[in-house]
């Protein structure tokens, strides 16, 4: 790339595009403290009562708990399954390594709604409708590609002679992995973990088909609430999600660098 100052017009254009990206976020945040059900210009009064309403609503509280449970369980499981698989794929110990990698990553390009309906039919046929384990496994399928991508990138950037040094010094393959390789790809794994966690927490198009009766994740709860009509408590709970996402993003940027997760 060329050095030197950017033209002012280009900077203004970029600023406007960034403003476009931030616009709905700001609107949601404003709506969450606005006294009226719909945002008006000028705003008529500031209130925190929508937040109070959300934090007293058992529906939302249950949904937050359920989403966290689901996201944490599926992300941990995905990491545990992905790490050994990535180690084998990285070392090309398997025939057709390329094809296997493609299969593992394919949920990324598969239309999520298709995975959702296929799983709906599958669990119906097996008599497992509303089974929490199936929901967790479905999320594992969806978030594993993110973990695999960052883990493979981490392994590719890892100096193989470090592992060899450990093994020559008397470490078995397993302890060399735990003592040297794992610490070496820690930042990549952390980035993959966070991205998988966020993806699972946010997932709607597959989750909506597999929910146990009477339970819902937070995004699905918001989704249904919107279907019933716009209500300011939706803005409040959305704002809570925005803040949580922002905190996670800043954490990742501090610890691993945001570029790593893309």
């Amino acid at each position: 790339m060329r050095d030197g100052p950017l033209p002012l017009t280009l900077k203004i254009v970029a600023g406007l595009i960034l403003a476009f990206l931030m616009l709905p976020v700001l609107v949601v945040a404003l709506a969450s403290v606005s006294a009226t059900a719909y945002l008006t210009v000028p705003p008529q009064g500031v209130t925190l009562r929508w937040f109070a309403q959300v934090l007293q609503d058992p529906n939302y509280l249950q949904a937050i708990g359920f989403s966290l449970e689901l996201a944490i369980a599926s992300t941990i499981l995905a990491v545990l399954l992905a790490i050994p698989a990535c180690y084998a794929l990285h070392h090309r110990w398997l025939p057709f390594s390329e094809a296997i990698s493609a299969l593992v990553l394919s949920p990324l390009i598969f239309p999520a709604v298709v995975i959702g309906v296929a799983l709906l039919q599958y669990v119906s046929m097996m008599g497992l409708r509303g089974n929490f384990v199936m929901l967790v496994l479905a999320h594992v399928v969806i978030v594993t590609p993110y973990v695999v991508r960052t883990a493979l990138a981490g392994l590719a950037g890892f100096d193989p002679s470090l592992e060899e040094a450990a093994r020559v010094l008397g470490a078995t393959r397993l302890s060399a992995f735990g003592l040297v390789v794992l610490p070496g790809i820690r930042a990549s794994l952390l980035a993959g973990f966070v991205f998988a966690l966020i993806t699972s927490f946010d997932e709607v198009p597959v989750t909506v088909f597999l929910l146990p009766p009477g339970q819902a994740t937070l995004p699905v709860t918001i989704f249904s609430a919107i279907d019933l009509g716009v209500d300011p408590s939706i803005a409040a709970v959305s704002t809570l999600l925005i803040v949580a996402t922002l905190i996670l993003l800043v954490m990742v940027e501090r610890m691993a660098g945001v570029r790593r997760i893309i």
């Binding site: 616009l23 709905p24 008006t40 084998a88 598969f110 309906v117 296929a118």
Partner: protein, 283 residues
């Protein structure tokens, strides 16, 4: 490289089993469903038929849905490309802390919940939304503009969602530019505009292509935003599949449409991969 197949198989087996049981098998088992007759209450009637596929090809309702889906995909891709390029250029040219902040600002909406973002757009674009409210207060309009539950709303919402993907792909492409190509052009007497159109733009064409393929495939597969911003009437393939499975309970027809959508997405990705390989091989 040493080959250690037994150990390799041992390490991949757990993940492989989960993928087979919860990804490959369900999709494979949906294939026969798509050749079944419609039966009441999600259960398929006996016998086999091609009707579910032929109706997609012949029924004007499906034609409209397909046309709508691809129009939406093409328009969102085009807007993302045009809007994303200047932003990507500024990000790629920045350094240090500015670079870090710009990246965070681009990535943040990407990580933010889809439902929340769509809700933000609804608050803005609805008949009683902020935008109409503002325009009416200013006296510019007397009746609210219809910005939602139609193509306009969908394009705005989906562009917002997939723009970060396009920007990140373009930033990578701009960074991969040979360092001196632009400088060389400048020293050869080309002005900044000429340099951009003769050097920078053609050299980032593969990145623009890759970003466009990504955004197009994601857009035609999207469910949440079309459902919220498109509403119950303005339907695309993903929302039709959703309704066939959850409200109409016509699984065979929904399954057929799901396979058509999947096939289109996979063919585009595979075709783009092939083209890119030819492209790089030719250079």
């Amino acid at each position: 490289m040493e080959t250690r197949r037994p150990l390799g198989f041992l390490l991949i087996t757990p993940l492989g089993l989960v993928l087979l049981a919860v990804f490959v098998a369900p999709i494979a088992m949906m294939l026969p469903t798509s050749f079944r007759h419609y039966g009441a209450g999600a259960a398929a009637a006996p016998g086999w038929t091609l009707e579910n596929y032929t109706q997609i090809a012949t029924d004007p309702y499906f034609h409209e849905v397909l046309a709508r889906t691809f129009t939406m995909g093409a328009l969102v891709t085009l807007v993302c490309l045009v809007v994303g390029y200047p932003l990507a250029y500024v990000v790629a040219r920045s350094t240090g802390a500015a670079r870090s902040w710009l990246t965070v600002l681009v990535v943040f909406p990407l990580l933010l919940n889809l439902v929340v973002r769509s809700f933000g757009w609804m608050s803005l674009l609805a008949n009683h939304g902020l935008l109409n409210n503002l325009l009416m207060t200013l006296g510019l309009i007397h009746a609210p503009l219809h910005l939602m539950f139609n193509l306009t709303g969908l394009i705005i919402g989906l562009t917002h969602i997939y723009l970060p993907f396009m920007v990140l792909v373009l930033v990578a492409a701009l960074q991969a530019l040979p360092k001196d190509a632009e400088a060389a052009s400048a020293t050869l007497g080309a002005g900044p505009m000429k340099t951009f159109f003769l050097v920078t733009l053609p050299l980032t064409a593969p990145g623009m292509f890759a970003g466009s393929v990504l955004v197009f495939v994601l857009t035609i597969s999207a469910l949440v935003t079309p459902r919220l911003l498109g509403g119950p009437a303005y339907k695309v393939m993903a929302t039709v599949i959703y309704d066939e499975f959850l409200s109409d309970l016509d699984w065979p027809s929904g399954a057929a449409l799901a396979f058509v959508l999947t096939l289109i997405a996979l063919l585009i990705v595979a075709g783009a991969g092939l083209l890119t390989r030819r492209w790089t091989a030719a250079q």
